[in-house]
């Protein structure tokens, strides 16, 4: 269990995305303020009339109403535009460790009581309400984080010993004022963010931290573009709060080591910078066009996913997407997913399956900020689900992938990239025609395709072949020909310079219908004159009749040129023999 550091900090919480983002991000970093002073507005005030009730019996209800009113837009957008929220999460991934999980934490079961040792609720309708000053004074507040919601009156600044921090989405001192995130995009081409000590003036206090971020653009999903009002609300619900929270935590609170009294500040140069006001809607529209970019029509043409074709398939997949399945975790990134994966890993009936689920969990974390990869993983997961229902034999990936692929963001039980490097496969197959027997998900064939002249790969399990085709399309590889075949039935009217037999000479799924001799005879048949067999064994304990026997049979058909036990990869990669044999023109005598 990780430790939590309580900071000598009060958060003056004005209910809304900004306050929630700060608290959630602090929690992610193992930090919490010692106190939250939560302003609870009366239902009447929220409806635009009357004053706050002083009766505490109504505080709970008022707080719930306030949640619904102040967070109305993020709730609405999450409900009606989930694809927009996903797109924002993807775009925000370079700026924040886990935007999707943060959104879930902010707007799914959030409670202020989970985020501080003490939560003081103050019934007040605005910062002018003297009950706020009274509550802050009573609590002896020193360092305090402002979370927006209005103008802080002089009486708050006058509280003895108070110092108020604020984070502003403009790069100080150059960008001050309102709507500054959009102003920054328009005038500086990138967002900026600054933390400073508030004064009664406008954004002119001493700066704690300030930076300009990398250019930010949200690639909108295909379909009608949301109207500007929705995009503007999405900006303040999901983008602006995360940018503020990230700077606050990473550049102010964490470096402080819990001692806020020692925070260094620097004064602003008042002779530079511009104070901006709210954007006119015509200018705002142009800023939103910069921030929310329409989908590139060529993307869909290059990479599209087909929906399930049959009603039966749809029903089956719906089951996978139901609670307990995983597909919904890919349709919309979820903070619950890693927890579910970990739970399932602990319940797994084998260590290999547990490892696969943890690999899935690891890969899932890499989907934020990468929309195309997420689409790929969603499609692959759909195929895994089909396989789970339809494939009667052993699943070598045990719920996730047997082969890994760095460029696909997939961690498998076997290390494909390590294998390609350790066996110098790119060098060996360069410019040659290659046949891969039992290609599994095809990730190895896809890797060597860049070097080979052509790759033909076949695999008995049709689901693995479908996944291979998806992966090849994603990688833009069109020089691999995948097919569904058993080696016993495989027929092709050509021979190959290199035949890859990677741990396929016998299998433990019960699907092999030929002897080792027949197997290597078939390899020999498809090897071009002068061509080679590239062979990888199973680990010794799984090598059936034993590796010497296997090698003896290979030697009937191939002259052994090279043999090694390469050191690379996962536990399943270890202790395998790699053999390179040159095709014999005359087959040797049978092995006893």
């Amino acid at each position: 269990m990780s430790s939590v550091t309580t900071l000598p900090l009060t958060v003056l919480a004005w209910e809304g995305p900004q306050a929630r983002a700060y608290l959630v991000r602090m929690r992610m970093a193992g930090l919490r303020p010692e106190r939250i002073v939560l302003i609870v507005r009366s239902a009447a005030a929220l409806r635009g009339r009357g004053r706050a009730s002083r009766r505490p019996v109504f505080m709970g209800r008022a707080e719930r109403v306030q949640d619904r009113v102040h967070n109305f837009h993020p709730y609405e957008i999450r409900q009606h535009h989930p694809e927009l929220v996903n797109a924002i999460a993807d775009a925000m991934a370079p700026f924040h460790p886990d935007p999707a999980a943060t959104f879930d934490a902010m707007f799914g079961g959030f409670s202020f009581d989970d985020h501080a040792d003490e939560v003081v609720r103050v019934s007040a309708d605005s910062y002018k309400d003297p009950r706020i000053v009274a509550a802050l004074s009573r609590a002896g507040v020193g360092d305090m984080l402002f979370t927006g919601g209005g103008i802080v009156p002089p009486a708050v600044f006058a509280i003895d010993g108070i110092r108020i921090f604020h984070v502003h989405t403009g790069f100080l001192p150059y960008v001050r004022g309102a709507d500054v995130l959009l102003w920054s995009l328009l005038t500086r081409g990138r967002p900026g963010v600054s933390a400073f000590v508030m004064t009664p003036g406008l954004d002119d206090g001493d700066v704690l931290a300030a930076e300009e971020l990398e250019p930010l653009a949200v690639a909108l999903p295909a379909g009608p573009r949301p109207d500007d009002a929705t995009l503007y609300r999405a900006l303040f619900s999901f983008i602006d709060p995360l940018i503020r929270a990230e700077l606050l935590v990473e550049q102010v609170l964490k470096p402080s080591g819990g001692d806020l009294s020692g925070l260094a500040t620097s004064p602003q140069d008042a002779t530079i910078g511009i104070t901006y006001h709210f954007l006119h809607e015509a200018v705002r529209s142009r800023a939103l066009q910069l921030l929310f970019t329409d989908p590139d029509p060529s993307v869909g043409a290059a990479w599209s996913l087909e929906p399930p074709a049959e009603d039966e398939a749809a029903a089956r997949l719906a089951r996978v997407g139901a609670p307990g399945g995983y597909q919904h975790f890919y349709d919309s990134l979820s903070a619950r997913a890693p927890l579910t994966f970990e739970r399932d890993a602990r319940r797994a009936d084998s260590s290999v399956r547990a490892q696969s689920i943890r690999n899935r969990r690891q890969d899932y974390a890499g989907l934020a900020g990468n929309a195309s990869r997420r689409a790929l993983h969603a499609a692959l997961n759909r195929e895994l689900a089909r396989q789970d229902v339809e494939w009667p034999s052993y699943d070598y990936g045990e719920g996730w992938f047997y082969q890994s692929s760095e460029r696909l963001g997939i961690t498998g039980l076997r290390d494909t990239d390590g294998r390609v490097a350790a066996l110098d496969l790119l060098g060996r197959v360069r410019g040659r025609r290659v046949l891969e027997i039992g290609s599994n998900t095809g990730f190895l064939s896809i890797e060597i395709a860049a070097a080979a002249d052509r790759v033909v790969a076949f695999e008995l399990n049709p689901h693995l072949v479908d996944m291979a085709r998806l992966a090849a399309a994603y990688c833009g590889v069109d020089t691999v020909e995948f097919s569904v075949d058993a080696f016993e039935d495989f027929e092709v009217g050509e021979v190959f310079d290199d035949v890859l037999s990677f741990a396929n000479h016998h299998t433990y799924d019960g699907n092999t219908r030929q002897s080792l001799t027949d197997y290597f005879a078939r390899c020999h048949r498809y090897t071009a004159p002068g061509g080679r067999l590239l062979f990888e064994s199973h680990p010794p304990e799984l090598e059936g009749d034993g590796f010497p026997q296997t090698l003896a049979i290979i030697e009937r058909y191939y002259e052994i040129e090279h043999m090694e036990v390469p050191e690379y990869g996962t536990a399943l990669d270890k202790r395998r023999r790699f053999v390179v044999g040159r095709r014999r023109e005359t087959v040797g005598p049978p092995v006893d």
């Binding site: 102003w183 005038t187 511009i274 006119h280």
Partner: protein, 152 residues
């Protein structure tokens, strides 16, 4: 009609009071008339002209009004008299002149800020004199902002 023509026409329409308002440190008709006399120009921020135009931006954007006169540091007077329509139109013209360089390689925030305030003023006061010339100028600025978006 060019922005220079608009400047000229508005200058003739502005009556500069011979006597100041009681307690006024800033006489807006005089200020605007002086700017119109000089013709379209881009002010540098944090200069006397830049600060004065910046203060008028705030009056338009935040307060939604332009007064005939202000006290020291642009404090409002009591009572507060609204500026005449040609004066407000003059402010808009000067704002648009300051937005003249807005574009992919324009004067960055200052020009955009001025354009933004000009747009708000045209919404707030739809019956200003020289409206067609002002609208033409603001359309040009908006096109330049769009070019800017496209170039980003």
């Amino acid at each position: 009609m060019t922005l220079a023509d608009v400047f000229s026409d508005l200058r003739t329409a502005i009556a500069v009071p011979s006597a100041g308002v009681d307690g006024a440190a800033i006489n807006v008709p005089s200020l605007v008339a002086g700017w119109l006399d000089r013709g379209p120009a881009v002010f540098a921020p944090h200069t006397a002209d830049g600060d004065a135009l910046d203060a008028l931006c705030r009056q338009i954007d935040v307060r939604g009004r332009v007064s005939e006169a202000y006290g020291p540091d642009w404090r409002r007077l009591d009572p507060e008299a609204p500026a005449a329509a040609p004066v407000v139109a003059g402010v808009v013209a000067v704002l648009l002149a300051n937005a003249a360089d807005v574009g992919p390689r324009g004067n960055d925030g200052w020009g955009l800020k001025c354009a933004n305030s000009a747009l708000k003023a045209l919404d707030r006061w739809p019956d200003l004199p020289e409206l067609s010339g002002l609208r033409l100028a603001v359309m040009t600025v908006l096109d330049q902002v769009s070019d800017r978006a496209g170039a980003a």
